[in-house]
Symmetry: C2
Subunit: 302 residues, 2 copies
C-alpha cells in the first residue's frame, strides 16, 4: 500500500501551551532524536510574539542551528503574520505553515478577529510567502466542526480551500482543531476537496479529543490522503477549545500504519525513546499508547 509521510509537530503544537518551557538545548536534542528516528517532516516552532507564547521564542535559533544538519528533513514552522514571515525568511526557512479558522467564534478566541478578516490576511500572507519563494502549506482550522458553533458548513471549507489554492498554496491542511471529526465526515470532506482541487496535496491534522484520532486518520488514508500531522506522545491541546486533547500520538500512528503494511520510514522503538525523553523533561506521562506497550515489553525482557 502507498507510503505515508507523518509530520511531527510535538515541538510546536505539542509544546506551545506547556507550562514548562524547554530550553533550546533540550529542543535541539528532541529534534535530533526525532530526525534520527526517521521523521522526515518536522514542524519545530511558531513565529509568534515571544511575549504571547514564550514557549516558541527560540524558534529562529532552533531553525538556524538544525537547518544544515538534516538535509532529508522538511523543516517547517507556523507563521501568523507579516512580522512572522519576515523572521521566517531571515532564518532561511524554505517551508511555512499558515492557517486560519473556518469558525468565527474560534477565530475570535484564538486570534481576536472574525474568521473572514483572519482569512483575508491569510490569503495575503500566502501570496507574500509564495512570492518570496517559499513552499506554503495553508491550513483550515475547525474544518470538521467547532465546539462553540457545532457543525461547520462543508461549503465554507471548500470555498476557503479553493481560494487558498488560487493564492498559490502548495498544500492544503484540513485541521480537526476541536477533535470533532468522524470517519464518515472525513471521507466525505476529503472526497469533495479532492474532486474540487485534484492538483492540491491534502494533509490532515487531527486531535484525539473523542478518541477518534486514529480512526479518522485511517478514514483519510482510505480516501487517498498520505500526509498526516502527529505529535510524539500525543502532546498538544488548545486553550481555546474546551476539553481539547492532544494530537494523534506519532508512535500510535506509526504502529497503525506498520500493522496494516503501510510504510512510514519511522523506527517505532527509536520514536518511543523520544517520547521517553519528553516524559522525563515534562515530568508526566503522555497519552500515547505505544510507548507504554514497548515499556512493558522491555520490562518483561529485563
Amino acid at each position: 500500500m502507498a507510503a505515508v509521510v507523518l509530520e511531527d509537530e510535538s515541538l510546536r503544537d505539542g509544546l506551545q501551551f506547556e507550562q514548562k518551557i524547554l530550553t533550546l538545548d533540550q529542543k535541539l536534542s528532541l529534534y535530533r532524536l526525532l530526525a534520527a528516528a526517521g521523521v522526515r517532516r518536522l514542524q519545530v516552532g511558531s513565529f509568534v510574539h515571544p511575549k504571547l507564547v514564550p514557549q516558541m521564542a527560540d524558534t529562529a535559533e532552533l531553525i538556524e542551528t538544525v537547518r544544515g544538519e538534516t538535509p532529508g528533513v522538511l523543516l517547517t514552522a507556523l507563521v501568523l503574520n507579516d512580522k512572522g514571515l519576515e523572521r521566517a525568511l531571515r532564518c532561511g526557512l524554505g517551508h511555512l505553515s499558515l492557517s486560519s479558522s473556518a469558525s468565527d467564534s474560534h477565530s475570535l478566541k484564538n486570534v481576536k478577529r472574525p474568521a473572514d478578516q483572519a482569512f483575508a490576511s491569510l490569503l495575503e500572507l500566502v501570496r507574500l510567502a509564495v512570492a518570496a519563494g517559499l513552499q506554503v502549506r495553508a491550513g483550515i482550522q475547525c474544518a470538521f466542526g467547532c465546539v462553540y458553533e457545532g457543525a461547520v458548513p462543508e461549503a465554507r471549507v471548500l470555498e476557503m480551500a479553493a481560494r487558498l489554492a488560487d493564492s498559490g498554496a502548495n498544500e492544503l491542511n484540513l485541521a480537526d482543531t476541536a477533535g470533532m471529526a468522524n470517519p464518515v465526515q472525513v471521507k466525505r470532506l476529503v472526497a469533495k476537496t479532492r474532486a474540487a482541487l485534484p492538483q492540491l496535496p491534502i494533509s490532515i491534522h487531527l486531535h484525539d479529543t473523542r478518541g477518534l484520532g486514529l480512526t479518522n486518520m485511517l478514514a483519510a488514508y482510505e480516501s487517498g490522503v498520505t500526509l498526516f500531522d502527529v505529535a510524539a506522545g500525543g502532546l498538544g491541546g488548545c486553550p481555546f477549545v474546551k476539553g481539547a486533547a492532544g494530537n494523534v500520538a506519532a508512535e500510535d500512528a506509526v504502529n497503525l500504519f506498520e500493522q496494516i503494511g503501510v510504510e512510514t520510514g519511522i523506527d517505532l522503538k527509536a520514536l518511543c525513546r523520544v517520547v521517553d525523553r519528553y516524559e522525563q523533561l515534562l515530568d508526566r506521562s503522555l497519552p500515547g499508547r505505544m510507548n507504554r506497550v514497548i515499556q512493558s515489553q522491555r520490562a518483561a525482557c529485563g
Copy 2:
C-alpha cells in the same frame, strides 16, 4: 445505516481485576443506571471460584435480583466450567458467555491448561449449556494475536469457530484479548468467518491497548458486524496480558456510532453518568474520552 448492539461488560471484564471490590448494592445501582441509559445487553459477572476472583463472588445474587426488573435487557455472565454452569442454571440465567484461547501460552497463563485441552472442555460446556436450553455465546480469546506468541494463525481461529458452531453455539465472539488487532486484519478475519459460517452471528470484543479499539470496531462494523462488547469508562485489563489496557469505552463507542448515524439505543449523557459513578466508586479517572468531553461542556454551561 444498520443499528448496532453494544454489550456492556463493565460489571464483569471491567471489575474482575479491580483492587477495590464493589458491594452488591453498588453493582445493583450501576446495573440499573446502565439499563436506564438504554444498554440492552449486560454481562454482569462470572461464575468463577469466589476465592480466585472475589470481585465476582456475588454474581448469582446480582442476577437473581435484577433478572425480573429489566425484561428488555439481555442478561449474561461468564461461565468457565461445569460447576459454573450449574450455578448459572440455578439462578435462572438464560444466556451464557463461554470462551477459550487460540493461544497456548495465553491459555496456560490464564487457565493453566494448554489451548487444545481448554477448547475440548469449552466444546463440551457449549453442548451441555445448549442441551440445558440456554442461549450460548462462544468466544475465541486472542483471536487476533497473542503477546506471548505473536501472530495467531487465522486457520486455527476458523477451525475453532467451525467446531463451536457445530456444537450449537448461538453466537461467535472474536476477542482481541491482547489489543493487537489492526483494522485490515479485522476485516479479513470477519470476512473469512462470515464466508465459512454465514448463519452464525459474530460479536467482537476489543481492548484498546494500542489505541486502535474504535478503529477496529469501525472496521468490523464495515464488515457487517453489529454486536460489540464495550465497558463503561473503558474499564478492564488482563493480568495475563502484558501492558493490557481496558475494553473500548462504551461512551466512546456510542459517540462514534452516533456521529456516523448508526443507532445504539443508548443515551450518551446518561451513560456518562454511569462513568461518573464508576469513577467515584473506584476513586480514579477512567480512560474513556467522552465523559471528559461532556464534563467540560457541563463546566462551560455552569
